[in-house]
Amino acid sequence: MGFGFDEIHGPISGPPETDSNSFTALLELPPPQAVELLIKEDFPAKPMPPPIFPSNIALIDRASKFSIYASPDNSPDSTAILPASSSMKLDLVKQEPLESDSHPNSSSPAVSNQSSKSGKRKEREKKVKESNKKSKKVAANEASELSGEKLPYVHVRARRGQATDSHSLAERARREKINARMKLLQELVPGCNKISGTAMVLDEIINHVQALQRQVEFLSMRLAAVNPRIDFNLDAVFAAESGSSIDNSYLGMFDPSIWPEGQINGSRQQLYQQPLHFDGLHQPSWGREDDTSNFISPEDSLLSYDSPPNSASLQSSKLKMEL
């Protein structure tokens, strides 16, 4: 079970880096209204996070002093790990400081020790500052504005006129998360930018996924229906086609400056090392009911051009297709 979760914990690698980068970018956007969640239910099967922060223990001590929470809340079981792709700063999440905010009576005498203002403020919109002061006392490592610092947990700022009890705050944080990701999805799915409303956007997303899945089915059917060919020698074909048509086609797809041709050739030749025999390459029989069908046939037949004019026409047709 351990190493499966190693993969979960590691950031999503490679190409989805762009997506996860934008995730973190988006998630860092509302740090002033940063998220504090108790997301026990999100990852039920996850192991407990190995690093236990010393502030955790200090927090527990202070919490027991204030006798605000029941003891089960203070156990490390109440912490959870946010999705791996989110900012690495938001590792550990606790809700206790917020719960303490809901008891202004207990907090104010404590806070008033620190500053003179706190005792006067009981309105909702000011609770955030109290919470900040309170958490300053309670937690060793945080600032009221969370933007640049690495924190073990994140605090929600209660906005004016909104409920500040823990449940609605958690709910709102969760909602913000979902909305941030929905925005990313809207960018990805074409035509979703103008639609407003979660239900419509989800509709579009569902349509898009279904369309893509159907396309995969059709394309695989199409490839299966390609006329069967005789077995080809992949390796020899690749070697013969230096600057092969496939490479050129993919150059058409990629940004040419980024992906030099030599690299493609080298990687392809490394991959295909199995020599097969060269059969009838020069007199291909395009018989319809030929039983010697080859799955590599679509690929091979692309590369079976040995006459320059044909390869030129293939390249041009491919490049046209990509444009």
Binding site: M1, E7, I8, I12, S13, G14, P15, P16, T18, D19, S22, F23, A45, A84, I178, R181, L184, L185, L188, A199, L202, I205, I206, V209, L212, Q213, V216, L219, S220, M221, R222, L223, A224, V226, S245, I246, M253, F254, D255, W259, L271, Y272, Q274, L276, P284, W286, T292, S293, N294, F295, I296, S297, E299, L302, Y305, N310, L314, S317, K318, M321
Partner: protein, 196 residues
């Protein structure tokens, strides 16, 4: 924005390369047996290799790729096992088995959670917001069915996974379409030549 676009296009190109390599690798396992296959068998084999290839490009870092692999290894007959081994390598096939167990456990826990939630009362107020929520819930249910492995995910996870899944599907479709078009063009050209 421009930098991000460039970034994403080059990484999409890398993905396409990787997918193509793995797909062809998987297809090569069929070189011996293809003479007896019907067209449906061929289509299934092509699709299977493509799915395994695109799922393996994620290196098990996403839920949906793990779910795809788990499904594939569930319906293990000889050929699919060979394909997975070829594409992934021997060591990683045991990772699939472990991840299957993980998914089973998370499925049980998810059932328990859902049962608890449902017992917490339902209101029948027909407010506009309630209707909207109902619509959204319906659609999330549909989406959960579509994305592989979606049944065990909560909303946040689901949206993230669909994001990744859509991008991967796009890559898969692009590569397959290019190859299919090229094959068709080549077929047409060659039949023209043979007629002449």
């Amino acid at each position: 924005m421009k930098a991000r676009m460039q970034n994403s296009s080059s990484s999409a190109a890398l993905l396409k390369q990787e997918f193509l390599k793995k797909w062809i690798n998987g297809l090569q396992t069929y070189t011996n047996t293809k003479k007896e296959m019907t067209i449906l068998d061929r289509k299934n084999a092509i699709k299977l290799s493509a799915d395994i290839a695109i799922a393996s490009t994620r290196n098990f870092s996403t839920n949906w790729s793990r779910a795809v692999m788990a499904d594939v290894s569930k319906n293990v007959d000889g050929s699919s096992k060979i394909v997975t081994e070829k594409i992934l390598g021997r060591k990683e096939t045991c990772i699939i088995k472990c991840s299957k167990n993980i998914m089973r456990k998370s499925r049980l826990l998810a059932h328990r959670r859902r049962a608890i939630r449902r017992t917490i009362g339902r209101t029948s107020v027909k407010a506009a917001s309630a209707i909207a929520k109902e619509l959204v819930k319906k659609r999330t249910r549909v989406l959960k069915r579509l994305v592989p492995g979606g049944k065990q995910m909560n909303e946040i996870c689901l949206i993230k996974e669909t994001l990744d899944y859509i991008a991967s599907l796009q890559v898969q479709v692009d590569v397959m379409r290019n190859i299919a078009n090229a094959a068709d063009h080549q077929c047409l050209d060659s039949t023209e030549r043979s007629l002449l």
